[in-house]
Amino acid sequence: MRIPCPFCGDRDSLEFVYRGDAAPERPDGEDGLYDYVYTRDNLAGPMREHWYHAQGCRNWLIVGRDTTTHEVFGARLAKRAGQ
């Protein structure tokens, strides 16, 4: 798999650290914390994921990828995700 890092360009996935589904958002209080930490949708198909470019620009990315084919659709910086 190659991941199109917006800062470094197309890079081998070996340079990245995987951190799973990007959808869960940390709740403010204890309500929902169990689900945030422990349960997953575990999607079969397209999924938005967090990847960290540890051996590159050290940016956190949100990568679109299909879990049934490993096809990568694209990547953007996670810190710009809300904008």
Partner: protein
């Protein structure tokens, strides 16, 4: 039919015409006492023990494809009970005891070979950790021997003992560990369960659950019609999240791909199962002669049943670092299996929040060795509605209550267990 020396001899002189199918091909009936979703080793073992131990024979095993076509056919066939934590060790030792009597019980040759499992250590700290694990095993009545370097040299002289970076200092040996023939385990359980009246229904995909007015599960919708059931158990590790989602459940599980490999057939070179302590590499030699080996998960969520090249390179590097003699053996095949990775690396055998639906899931990449005990304990749960003593820790809600069984101490990072 019953397999015996007499049946073997009779067929030898009668042109091999007396054999009948190992199990019955069954058509779905309208309803059953228990339906097991998933015709892998765990599902078939569950059906067998339901019939044998609890007298429940109105049981159907529903399989989307063909039995044993999923992870039961994709593992590296290792059996062992060398766990450390109290929630795990009695369960896996019960499984080992069942392996030891399996062939007589099933009347089927599963080629169980107790050739020993040797976990190598490469530093003082790792020796201490393995000594502690060995002590934990012995406290549970399990065989464990801490070997020094000289003893490992006698057992496996071909290892790279003087390697500068990871010298082999010794190993923890479980002599009763070993391997079993994965397909024969599936066929053996299918054979024995079918003899006791269990219906094994292949090419029958579960597409939904029947729910009553209070939400209890009362049957399944399948590609071959609706089938009612008193209880439904799911044993579909790898796809647990997808099947559970049909009952509106969200599991503490991620699906990851684990690759395995086999080399061309060689003359006997490996005396037992050997694992590398300084990297992730484990290897045994099949009776056919191929080296069967594997390593780490690829590390990202996947349902693809195949992995990528970086992990293949990493696994082969581990093999070369440990036993350079295998460097000229060619890899014949590699494949991937989808693993139910839980948030603490341990499985779930429990009631689900939906009444009538029971879950056997989360086997991570250690499900094969657990097959007999998993079936035994899941059958106990389905029949008696209470957990078997050896599986009492495998609760569905343990992540909420904090009673985790985290053998590796990695926390809620499924790809690291």
């Amino acid at each position: 039919m019953r397999y015996s020396l007499t049946s073997l001899l009779w067929n030898a002189i009668s042109g091999q015409t007396g054999w009948r199918p190992t199990w019955r091909a069954a058509q779905p009936r309208d309803g059953y006492d228990v339906i097991i979703v998933g015709g892998g080793g765990h599902g078939l073992a569950t059906a067998y023990y339901l019939a044998k131990n609890h007298g429940i024979t109105r049981v159907a095993v529903l399989e989307k494809g063909w039995i044993g076509g999923g992870n039961a056919g994709r593992n590296t066939t290792i059996i062992r009970s060398n766990y450390e934590l109290a929630g795990n060790e009695p369960f896996y030792e019960w499984s080992m005891k069942l392996w030891e009597g399996l062939e007589q019980s099933l009347n089927y040759n599963a080629m169980v070979s107790q050739r020993g499992v040797l976990n190598l250590f490469h530093s003082d700290a790792q020796r201490d950790a393995y000594a502690r694990r060995g002590n934990a095993m012995r406290l549970n009545g399990v065989d464990a021997e801490l070997l020094d370097e000289a003893a490992v040299r006698r057992l496996a002289p071909f290892l790279d003992f003087e390697q500068a970076r990871f010298p082999v200092q010794g190993g923890l040996l479980q002599p009763r560990g070993g391997t079993a023939r994965h397909d024969a385990v599936v066929w053996g359980y299918a054979h024995a369960a079918s003899e006791l009246g269990v219906d094994i229904i292949q090419n029958c995909e579960v597409t939904g659950f029947l729910r009553d007015s209070v939400g209890a599960v009362t049957g399944v919708e399948t590609s071959r019609g609706v089938i009612r059931a008193g209880k439904v158990g799911m044993a579909v590790a790898g796809s647990s999240s997808r099947v559970a989602a049909l009952a509106d459940l969200r599991l503490p599980i991620e699906s990851h791909v684990l690759q395995a490999f086999v080399s061309e057939a060689l003359k006997p070179v490996l005396p037992n199962v050997i694992t590398f302590g300084a990297g992730h590499f484990y290897v045994s030699q099949s009776d056919k002669g191929g080296l069967v080996f594997g390593g780490d998960l690829d590390g990202y969520n996947s349902y693809a049943s195949r992995g990528n090249l970086p992990v293949i390179e990493d696994v082969c590097e581990g093999g070369m670092a440990l036993m350079p003699m295998i460097g000229r053996a060619r890899v014949l095949r590699s494949w991937g299996g989808i693993c139910d990775m839980t948030m603490d690396g341990s499985p779930i055998i429990d009631r689900s929040p939906a009444p009538g639906l029971y879950i056997n899931a989360g086997w991570c990449y250690g499900g094969f060795k657990a097959t007999p005990a998993s079936g035994w304990c899941f059958a106990h749960l389905l029949a008696k509605d209470e957990a078997h003593d050896t599986a009492a820790a495998y609760r569905f809600d343990r992540f909420r209550t904090g009673h985790l069984i985290d053998e590796k101490g990695q926390g809620a990072h499924p790809n690291l267990h």
